[in-house]
Structure formats: structure tokens, C-alpha cells
């Protein structure tokens, strides 16, 4: 299971992703945003940060980076793509996932741990399992996910909602929603289930020294989906 972490100008979680994946024992390499093609990887990671300074809208410029057609082709071919925070915003702007991101309803940059409930099975959550509550850190000002009522119905019907913000007991409530996202949505997949975008940062909680290893479940699920090594627990 090989991972490729795309580096845009302004990415700032690329090294965290690289470190976390290496620590879990997976081969991983950086992919420069100006590359025209991807190296031999099974999963593309679009990391968090502020690509292109978040100018215009978060992710709006990165969407036109030279590497992006190759990322779209990888997704089209069934390859795994995970967009974390700014990476999620890029996937939305690129149309690889439906919806858009608004400013947090509080207008605050929220930087703290949240709980999310795993809502769907699939390649990103198979090891966590539906209903499991994960504790993951968030750090964003634009994570207020929006989609129209029709799209929301479709997401629900197709099992595309991967994670919802919840309290420690797994209860979905407005109080547990850190940004105002529609339906407490913290992460969604495309219809086929091979592209995931999520606002929380699993790469920031993979190393025991950080006091939390819930993030491992997501990366290990991806690896397990390809019969790869599994380093959980």
C-alpha cells in the first residue's frame, strides 16, 4: 500500500501526513503540485494547510494545479483519494465531491479535538466500523459544510456520509457541531466510496506520543482495503 502526499504551495500538514504514514509502516512519498503525473501510489493524500493562501476561496486555486487532472484520473480509475481539511476543500472545489465549504458559523478558527461518529462502512472506515466514535483534532475556519437538500438526501441514501460530529457518547447534536455544517457532516465520500474528504486531521493522532491514535483506524482501513499491512492498536 503506497501513499502519495501532494504538496501545494501553502500546504502545512504534508509533513504530518508523511510522518504518520511512515510511522505506520507504509511506503509514502511527496508529490509536487507541478508534477504532470502521479508516481505509483495506491492512495493520494491531499493534506491540510492553506494552499495558495486560501485566496478567492479555500481550495479554489489548488483545484487548477497541474497535478489535479492526474488525481481526478486516479479517482476515476477507482484509486483511493483522501482529502484532509484543506484537501477536503480542494476536492469540493474540484467537483470530486459534492457541496461547498462556508465560513464557520461562529466565525472562529476552531482548533480542538472533536468526536465524530462513523456513519458508513467502506474502505476508509472498515476497521473502525459503523457507530464507532473517534476523537480527532480539527483546525479550520472554513469547515461549515453545505449542500442543498437534494444532495443531502442523496448523500444519506447512498451512504456517502462517512462521519458526523457528535458528543463523546456518539449523540449527534447542535452543541457537538463545531462549525455549523449541514447534518453535522464532518466527512463524506463520493458515490463509489473511493474518495473521502474530511475536516478532522487523522494524521495528527496516529503517534502514541501525541496521546491519541484514533487516526490510525482511517489510514489502516485504507491499507486493509488493498490487503495491506495493518498497524492498529
Amino acid at each position: 500500500m503506497r501513499f502519495g502526499v501532494v504538496v501545494f504551495p501553502g500546504s502545512n500538514c504534508d509533513t504530518d501526513c508523511y510522518h504518520a504514514l511512515r510511522g505506520l509502516g507504509y511506503p509514502v512519498e511527496y508529490v509536487w503540485h507541478e508534477a504532470a503525473s502521479l508516481p505509483e501510489v495506491d492512495c493520494v493524500v491531499l493534506p491540510g494547510g492553506f494552499s495558495y493562501g486560501d485566496y478567492l476561496r479555500a481550495g479554489a486555486i489548488a483545484r487548477f494545479a497541474r497535478i489535479m487532472p492526474a488525481v481526478a484520473a486516479h479517482a476515476e480509475a477507482g484509486g483511493a483519494v483522501i482529502g484532509i481539511c484543506n484537501g477536503f476543500q480542494i476536492l469540493l472545489e474540484a467537483g470530486l465531491l459534492p457541496g461547498a465549504m462556508r465560513r464557520n458559523a461562529s466565525l472562529q478558527f476552531r482548533c480542538h479535538d472533536v468526536h465524530v461518529r462513523v456513519e458508513a462502512g467502506g474502505m476508509f472506515t472498515s476497521l473502525a466500523g459503523r457507530g464507532r466514535v473517534l476523537r480527532l483534532p480539527i483546525a479550520h475556519a472554513e469547515g461549515n459544510y453545505y449542500c442543498g437538500a437534494e444532495v443531502l438526501t442523496e448523500l444519506e441514501a447512498n451512504g456517502q456520509i462517512a462521519f458526523r460530529y457528535c458528543d463523546a457518547d456518539g449523540k449527534i447534536s447542535a452543541a457537538a457541531n463545531p462549525n455549523g455544517a449541514v447534518g453535522n457532516i464532518a466527512g463524506i465520500t463520493n458515490r463509489r466510496g473511493n474518495v473521502l474528504g474530511l475536516m478532522p486531521h487523522p494524521e495528527r493522532c496516529c503517534d502514541p506520543v501525541l496521546g491519541n491514535t484514533d487516526g490510525r483506524l482511517i489510514f489502516a482501513s485504507i491499507a486493509a482495503s488493498r490487503g495491506g499491512l495493518c498497524h492498529v492498536g
Binding site: E93, R102, Y146
Partner: protein, 84 residues
Amino acid sequence: MFMARIRVTLKPTVLDPQGAAVRKALASLGFTGVEDVRMGKYVELKLTARDRAAAEQAVAKACQDLLANPVIEEYAYTLEEVGG
């Protein structure tokens, strides 16, 4: 040479937390009559095009592809012929 003056605004159905915060700030300053504030973006594009229709087409495409996100935003613009 043409000058396009573009306004990008959130769709009326989309909540605007920034506008709501500004409305509250105005209210606290005593502007009690302000009932709603909607924030948006203003973009000027100076462009060369062979005629007005071509300029119009380029501006509309720029708005659709990049300047506005059609999921949550809408745009409007004026186009004026200006000296180089």
C-alpha cells in the same frame, strides 16, 4: 480593452455568518435600522478581446469556472470598453 466589474455574492438561501457578525457590530454601534447584511466579493478584470461579445463570453466563463462557486454563490457583472 474592456473592464469587467464583477460582484460575487452568496446565494440568498445560503447563510452568511460574516454578514451576520457585521450586522451585530453595526447594531452595537447604534445602527439599529440595519436589518440584514450580506457580504460579497468585488473583482475587476481588465481584458483584451476582439469585441464586446467575446469579452462577455470570457468574463462569464471566468465567473463560472473560478471566480464564483456555483454551489453557494452567484455573480453579476458590468462590462465597459475602456482605453488601453
